[in-house]
């Protein structure tokens, strides 16, 4: 997994059947109340969920706090979890999404772009341009619907496929394809509304 800072993290793909069987076994033990098994689930998925929340709430510390709440709620709710074909992490993403929505309701919505540590280009001019780009994008993203924001973040910042996004959002893959087209169109419209890109 390319993490964006030049570091490649090795993580088994969600579609790997061995990995999936391992996760399923942990989930089953956690459903029976095994805290250590849930601890292993936490170790496996917490970094990814934090990264997702970081993109949505714009602040790493806040994202980690929210993530703790997500995993605690997941622990409470896991006895009711039912395997329905989608990978387990889809369920975690949905819980993270709900937690994030609650967060937005408590505060003025921000986007995944706020506070991003922008790598510094060599040229000062390029640096300014990049900051303006992020600012414009932030403004444009704020005007998108929650669904559109979610699909763009998952597609481009979390690098999920349409099928994976469908599992996370509880939609069909074909629905997600249409949604991402509308999301990109809406993003472009909003970018133009706020004055276009610099």
């Amino acid at each position: 997994v390319e993490t964006g800072d030049g570091v490649t993290a090795i993580r088994p793909a969600a579609a790997d059947p061995v990995e999936r069987a391992r996760v399923d076994a942990l989930v089953e033990r956690a459903r029976q109340g095994d805290a250590d098994a849930f601890g292993a689930i936490y170790d496996r998925f917490q970094p990814e969920i934090v990264r997702y929340l970081r993109h949505r709430v714009g602040d790493m510390d806040h994202a980690e706090d929210l993530c703790q709440q997500v995993f605690l709620k997941a622990w409470q709710a896991i006895p009711r979890y039912q395997q329905r074909g989608a990978p387990f992490q889809s369920w975690l993403y949905r819980m993270a999404h709900n937690q994030m929505v609650d967060h937005f309701r408590r505060q003025r919505p921000t986007t995944d772009l706020e506070g991003v540590d922008v790598p510094e280009p060599a040229e000062a001019e390029a640096r300014v341009e990049h900051a303006e780009l992020v600012e414009h994008l932030q403004s444009a993203m704020e005007r998108l619907s929650e669904d559109h924001r979610q699909v763009l973040v998952l597609r481009f910042l979390m690098e999920k496929s349409a099928a994976e996004i469908g599992a996370i959002m509880g939609r069909k893959e074909v629905t997600v394809r249409g949604l991402q087209l509308r999301a990109l169109r809406a993003l472009r419209t909003q970018i133009e509304t706020v004055g276009g890109l610099p």
Binding site: V7, A35, D147, H148, G178, L179, L184
Partner: protein
């Protein structure tokens, strides 16, 4: 005809998805993708360019585990109990639902204790039944309160909130039982106390087919628009068959069957007669004989709320049922006798035809900065509340007011308070079941609302080169009136208006003054003005009407378009005068089949480009004249 014009939206979606895969993986550039799909290049380019911008955003690296945080988490985890699923307990047979409360309580306790062998056996039966698997197409039950039961294996067993019910389910509500069925297409049926019904069919493989049989009580049906040929939603009563599409209607079964159409049109069929009831009409049928078919009373509703962006409003009744919209684009109508308009098509209007005594909650969700106004009209008296300084973006305000009935039988309204909702608490105020199809419609509505908000923020009229109401669920209410609600004399109003079971008396939908009608008139008027003088007006009208029909077909069913056509022709009578007026048929009999078969597979966005009118946006904003608020008890709302 180019391939791009012929390309189905799903093909474009799939091609874009492949291009995005290539872009994200670095396998291809935008130009390479466009070169690979030259026929779709014009549609792909804007999306791919936006994708490129998204790709320019730096991604957040994953952080390794913080051991301190993990230790704290595991400590918290070990102190947090898990929530174990609970099973429904079947209950011994209840001879009558209208039992005294004490007796019901006692029976419930027996079942809950689960101590007897009989109870254990019944639990086993219930678990067996529950394990039978959920049906492919189901409805979801929402229980607002009271007794709701299903007939299973010769017993009436209590139903839990959230239960999925498929075809064949027979259920009933007790004297206080209120529930809602949400079907897979987003249609809902609100079930009043003392109602018994059977779900005869739920099919959504391709074309919707929902069939209910109502044995008693009252159903408030809010049917999602579905213009496809063969789509159906029917309610069969002992006296008649009621068929509808994309409408709101009420069916009451007692000694006779009463049907009221609130929006759109329904077809009422008896053994000997078939009649279409358009919005505002009602009929009674007894033993398959049509007794009456009349216009509903146009008595003004007691309560009317008008809210404009930047707020999106919803009203929650004392029973817990809600009517309105939310910022996610959901539009819902669970309160019998109430109607809501879409915030996408103009100021949102919430009209309540039959009030329940108790506390109502008006949810005001701010979606943007800027001024606005909330108009509360109760019993003909208006109260206007400027909302510029109320709330922050993303915040929800809750206005609570109480409806009570005085000793003289007259209803009164009293504002309780106006306050922000505690963080996260507003999510549970409305009880919504969101299906995939409803979600897809909601996306379009939410997009349209945002466009309206953006247009208002930019201090310019909303664009008119797209369908004004892109969401199929967008159905302006029939009784949104452009002017202030006339204040009826108290004696004019039927006293039943304030009883919980009172029958709503909404005004006709055919009024061209509603939001959709206004948009149609505006676009037709523009077409008539733009056409050369030597072209017959009727021809211009028909061509424009056909275009608009195609444009709106995804959102409005054929019956509603037929109703609107009559009203629109009436409104444009003067502009049509110099042409062969007689050639324009007010009846839409020729239009309806075309509507039924021409529904495109695209969403409103994809069809929006077909609109050509450049006329300024019609503003359906009600222009209510401020009236004295001295006598309104709702004044307290701003305190």
């Amino acid at each position: 005809v180019s391939r791009a014009q012929n390309a189905r939206p799903s093909e474009l979606d799939a091609v874009l998805d492949r291009c995005l895969d290539d872009l994200v993986a670095g396998r291809a550039s935008v130009e390479q993708c466009l070169a690979r799909w030259p026929e779709l290049a014009s549609e792909l380019r804007p999306a791919l360019e936006a994708a490129t911008v998204m790709r320019a955003v730096p991604r957040t690296p994953e952080r390794p585990h913080d051991p301190v945080r993990r230790t704290a988490f595991m400590a918290a985890l070990r102190e947090t109990p898990q929530q174990r699923p609970r099973r429904a307990f079947p209950r011994p047979r209840l001879p009558h639902l209208a039992l005294p409360g004490l007796r019901l309580t006692a029976l419930t306790r027996v079942a809950a204790a689960g101590a007897s062998a009989a109870a254990v056996a019944l639990i086993a039966v219930a678990l067996t039944l529950a394990g039978g698997g959920s049906p492919a197409a189901a409805s979801t039950l929402t229980v607002f309160g009271g007794e709701v039961e299903q007939f299973v294996e010769g017993e009436w067993a209590p139903l839990l909130d959230g239960t999925e019910l498929g075809a064949g389910a027979r259920l009933r509500t007790g004297a206080e039982g209120r529930a809602l069925l949400t079907f897979v297409d987003g249609s809902t049926a609100a079930i009043d106390p003392g109602t018994e019904l059977t779900i005869e069919a739920i099919e959504l493989n391709g074309v919707r087919r929902i069939a209910l049989a109502q044995q008693s009580g009252r159903l408030w049906n809010d049917v999602a628009p579905d213009g496809r040929l063969g789509a159906s939603y029917t309610v069969r009563t002992p006296d008649a068959l009621v068929s509808a599409q994309g409408t709101v209607f009420e069916t009451t079964v007692g000694e006779e069957t009463q049907v009221i159409t609130v929006e759109g049109a329904v077809e009422l069929t008896t053994d000997s007669e078939r009649r279409v009831l358009v919005a505002g009409e009602q009929a009674a049928v007894r033993q398959h004989q049509m007794l009456t078919a009349t216009q509903s009373s146009d008595a003004s509703p007691l309560l009317e709320l008008r809210v404009d962006v930047p707020f999106i409003a919803a009203l929650v009744a004392p029973s817990g049922r809600a009517t309105g919209a939310n910022p996610d684009g959901q539009l819902y109508n669970q309160i019998p006798g109430a109607l809501t308009s879409s915030p996408a098509s103009g100021p949102q209007s919430l009209v309540v035809g039959a009030l329940e005594p108790g506390v109502y909650q008006l949810l005001l969700r701010r979606v943007a900065r800027g001024p606005g106004e909330l108009v509360l009209a109760f019993d003909g008296v208006e109260r206007r509340i400027p909302t510029a300084r109320l709330g922050e973006v993303g915040e929800t305000l809750l206005l609570r007011f109480e409806i009570s009935v005085g000793p003289d039988g007259a209803p009164t309204a009293r504002a309780i308070d106006l306050r922000p909702v505690p963080a996260g608490a507003d999510a549970t105020l409305e009880r919504l079941v969101v299906t995939d199809r409803a979600q897809e419609r909601a996306e379009l509505l939410a997009e349209a609302v945002r466009a309206r908000v953006a247009a208002q923020l930019a201090d310019r009229p909303a664009p008119t080169d797209r369908p004004p109401t892109p969401a199929p669920s967008d159905r302006p209410p029939s009784n949104v009136r452009p002017n202030a609600t006339p204040r009826p004399a108290p004696s004019d109003r039927p006293p039943s208006n304030v009883r919980p079971n009172a029958t709503p008396r909404p005004a006709p939908t055919a009024d061209a003054g509603d939001a959709l009608g206004a948009r149609l008139i505006q676009q037709l008027r523009a077409a008539l003005r733009a056409a050369p003088a030597d072209v017959p007006r009727a021809q211009v009208f028909e061509e424009a009407w056909e275009r608009l029909t195609r444009q709106f077909v995804a959102q409005v069913d054929a019956a509603r378009m037929a109703t609107l056509r009559e009203a629109v022709i009436e409104e444009l009578r003067d502009e049509l005068r110099d042409g062969p007026r007689g050639s324009i048929a007010p009846s839409a009999t020729a239009t309806a089949p075309r509507l039924a078969t021409a529904k495109p597979e695209t969403d409103a966005n994809d069809t929006s480009g077909s609109a050509t009118s450049d006329a300024p946006s019609s503003d359906a904003t009600p222009t209510a004249t401020p009236t004295s608020s001295e006598s309104s008890n709702l004044d307290g709302a701003t305190r």
